[in-house]
């Protein structure tokens, strides 16, 4: 409860700081915020876009959350996402089968690709003690340039002016229910599965334990190395599925483009950082980030505020939440300690004379 208050306070403050920044630059802050929420929630199409964004954020947020809270610093979401997207595109372009077969196949292949890519970094760490946050980060750049190479050379669509791949077959794109993309339901389903796994299985308990105190977990008999490997792979799998969503979602472009998913991966990290140790928050902030990002495009048209403003707003939010969350504990402990010492002073050490 206390933590929820802290987080909400952080978000509110970020909005206030954002408003100050906006008005300092001569925009009308309240109008801009209203436009932001109006353009992401009030029309059916906008709501559909918001939810589709949310689906991708849920996957990436979960991926980062899973890593952070089991003691794994997986900063390679971007690379894993790209690998998933690449594999989904390759299959999606060629596999002309019934969607009932093709779509699950693409998802599973993308998940495996993401998992393998993060698994490599995990093996580097376990076998050779190489810090996983550096290797995963370096692998991001390798994946990024690999995709850049593929879309400019072998996979390039000869009919397009810009470097991009050919789109996947239309039958392999997710369908919609009403205006809501299938990825949304799938993401929520996966969220529920991961939630149950995390909270109610032995392995999930071991993950949480390792994240909280590695030494304690090891002394308690957890196979720390094995868990490290699995949680890294699971994190990569989730990111890989996010990559598949970016290719197969009906609101997406359905092809590989050079800057695919570049900001999404860092959004996922931010969501996981804000969520701290509460998994339901991932769901909430995925929706929230979906709202402000979808709304920012409309806001740019309505009020001329550049849509990049949201990137900064999100980052300010993260900083405030981190500051509040860690400091509030310190602050409360400090006050407790003071009142305790005051009490002790008045009770035990009354002046002698």
């Amino acid at each position: 409860m206390k933590k929820t208050v802290v987080v909400i306070l952080g978000v509110l403050l970020a909005f206030i700081v954002g408003a100050i920044l906006l008005s300092a630059q001569g925009y009308h802050p309240i109008e801009s915020y209203i436009s932001m929420f109006k353009n992401s929630l009030l029309t059916k199409i906008a709501l559909g876009n918001t939810l589709a964004r949310m689906a991708i954020f849920i996957m990436l947020g979960l991926a980062a959350y899973f890593g952070f809270n089991s003691g794994v610093s997986n900063l390679g979401l971007f690379g894993q996402l790209l690998m998933g997207a690449l594999v989904a595109t390759l299959i999606g372009q060629h596999l002309n089968a019934s969607p009932v077969i093709a779509i699950p196949l693409m998802l599973i292949a993308a998940a495996i690709a993401g998992g393998v890519y993060s698994g490599i970094a995990a093996l580097f760490r376990l076998g050779f003690g190489m810090n996983e946050f550096i290797t995963t980060l370096m692998m991001n750049f390798i994946a990024k340039y690999l995709i850049a190479y593929l879309v400019t050379n072998p996979m390039r669509d000869p009919n397009s002016q810009w470097p991009m791949s050919r789109p996947i077959l239309q039958s392999n794109v997710f369908s919609r229910i009403g205006d809501i993309d299938m990825t949304v339901f799938l993401a929520i389903l996966i969220f529920i599965i991961v939630f149950l796994y995390w909270n109610f299985t032995r392995r999930g308990y071991e993950f949480r334990l390792t994240g909280a105190n590695n030494l304690f977990a090891r002394l308690g008999g957890c196979e720390v190395n094995k868990n490290f490997f699995s949680s890294m792979v699971i994190s990569g799998v989730l990111a890989g599925i996010a990559g598949a969503f970016l290719i197969m979602g009906s609101t997406q472009q359905n092809k590989l483009i050079p800057n695919l998913g570049e900001t999404n991966a860092s959004d996922g990290l931010m969501i996981a950082i804000i969520s701290g140790q509460s998994m339901p928050s991932v769901l909430f902030f995925s929706l929230f980030f979906g709202i402000i990002q979808t709304g920012s495009v409309g806001m740019q048209m309505d009020t001329n505020v550049p849509s990049e403003f949201t990137v900064m707003l999100q980052a300010i939010m993260v900083l405030f939440v981190v500051a509040f969350r860690d400091y509030s504990e310190l602050f409360i402990n400090l006050i407790k300690a003071r009142s305790k010492s005051r009490k002790l002073r008045t009770e035990d050490h009354e002046p002698v004379c």
């Binding site: 630059q25 952070f68 610093s73 900063l75 580097f124 050779f128 003690g129 190489m130 810090n131 946050f133 550096i134 290797t135 980060l137 370096m138 692998m139 991001n140 750049f141 390798i142 340039y145 690999l146 850049a148 190479y149 400019t152 050379n153 860092s266 990290l269 931010m270 950082i273 550049p306 990049e308 403003f309 990137v311 900064m312 999100q314 980052a315 300010i316 993260v318 900083l319 981190v322 500051a323 969350r325 860690d326 400091y327 310190l330």
Partner: protein, 303 residues
């Protein structure tokens, strides 16, 4: 032969930003502060240096602006981890994300461009011809005519950092703080100010590094321009255990890889693959380092 000289020449220029940032990181490494915000500090200073050089038309102010930009991020980072006692890792990541967002937004807001700012109004760091060395055939082409920060960092910064960390009182306290901050506190030296000092110096050097990147090695600003250099610097620090001379050698090695990558494009290898080279070589370097560590450990176990 000519190509070879050209590679070495551009290697030196591209090594300097990483060198400066890694030297800065050495301070926080020795103070046992896990500073992964270096990427963000570098990016910010690259942006402010270009912005101020563009606005004032003077590289001196650009340099000052670059340092100031990096110091702002350093102050935020220090305030968070030293006063608010937030986690270093999370704070660092959050700050890196913040600087990416902020520079992208400001680029759009101030200059009204997306992606990259390239303009003749950006005044780069001056290039200096060294009188005598200039005339030596190969060495002269490599060493002479580089930008001013190349000489400053090689001649002044590296020896100074070495002296300060290993030979001065401040360096002793710094390393003691990194070794056990409670021990330092117990003898009456406050460890937090020492950590703060080390972070400030780190911020200063990251500011120089960012400026060397955007006004020295190149003369432009692109979104997310640091492109992992802060992280490569971190890898270098881990590999060398924060020793300035080792940092110097590895940074130049990094520069050579980048230079070789650029020249391989002429041979017909796609530029995307050559751009991967620094990142792959960082992973390989970490790999070799860890093998050696393992060997040392097993040798120790045999004894």
């Amino acid at each position: 032969m000519n190509l070879f000289v050209e590679i070495l020449r551009s290697s030196l220029a591209s090594a300097i930003p990483v060198l400066l940032v890694a030297l800065g990181g050495a301070y926080s490494f020795h103070a046992n502060v896990f500073n992964i915000a270096m990427e963000g500090m570098m990016l910010t200073s690259a942006f402010t240096a270009v912005a101020i050089s563009y606005a004032t038309g003077s590289w001196v102010w650009g340099l000052v602006g670059g340092i100031a930009g990096s110091l702002v991020i350093t102050l935020i980072f220090s305030f968070f981890i030293l006063k608010l006692k937030t986690g270093e890792f999370i704070t660092g990541i959050a700050l890196n994300l913040f600087t990416t967002g902020a520079t992208t937004y400001l680029l759009r807001q101030i200059f009204n461009v997306k992606g990259a700012l390239i303009s003749p109004k950006i005044v780069p760091l001056p290039r200096i011809d060294i009188p005598l060395i200039k005339d030596i055939p190969v060495l002269g082409t490599i060493l002479s005519g580089q930008n001013i920060l190349v000489y400053i960092s090689l001649i002044i910064v590296v020896p100074l950092v070495f002296y300060q960390i290993y030979r001065s009182r401040m360096g002793l306290r710094l390393r003691a703080t990194g070794f056990d901050s409670r021990a330092v506190d117990s003898v009456g030296i406050k460890s937090d100010p020492i950590k703060f000092q080390s972070l400030l110096i780190c911020g200063l050097l990251c500011g120089l590094g960012g400026t060397a990147l955007s006004l020295g090695y190149m003369s432009l600003f692109t979104e997310n321009m640091a492109a992992g250099r802060g992280w490569i610097a971190l890898a270098i620090i881990i590999l060398t255990q924060g020793q300035p001379i080792g940092i110097l050698l590895l940074s130049i090695l990094f520069g050579v890889f980048e230079g070789v990558g650029l020249s391989l494009q002429n041979v017909g290898i796609p530029s995307q693959f050559t751009a991967m080279l620094p990142y792959i070589s960082t992973i390989v370097a970490l790999f070799i380092f860890s093998r050696q560590q393992k060997k040392k450990k097993s040798l120790a176990a045999d004894l």
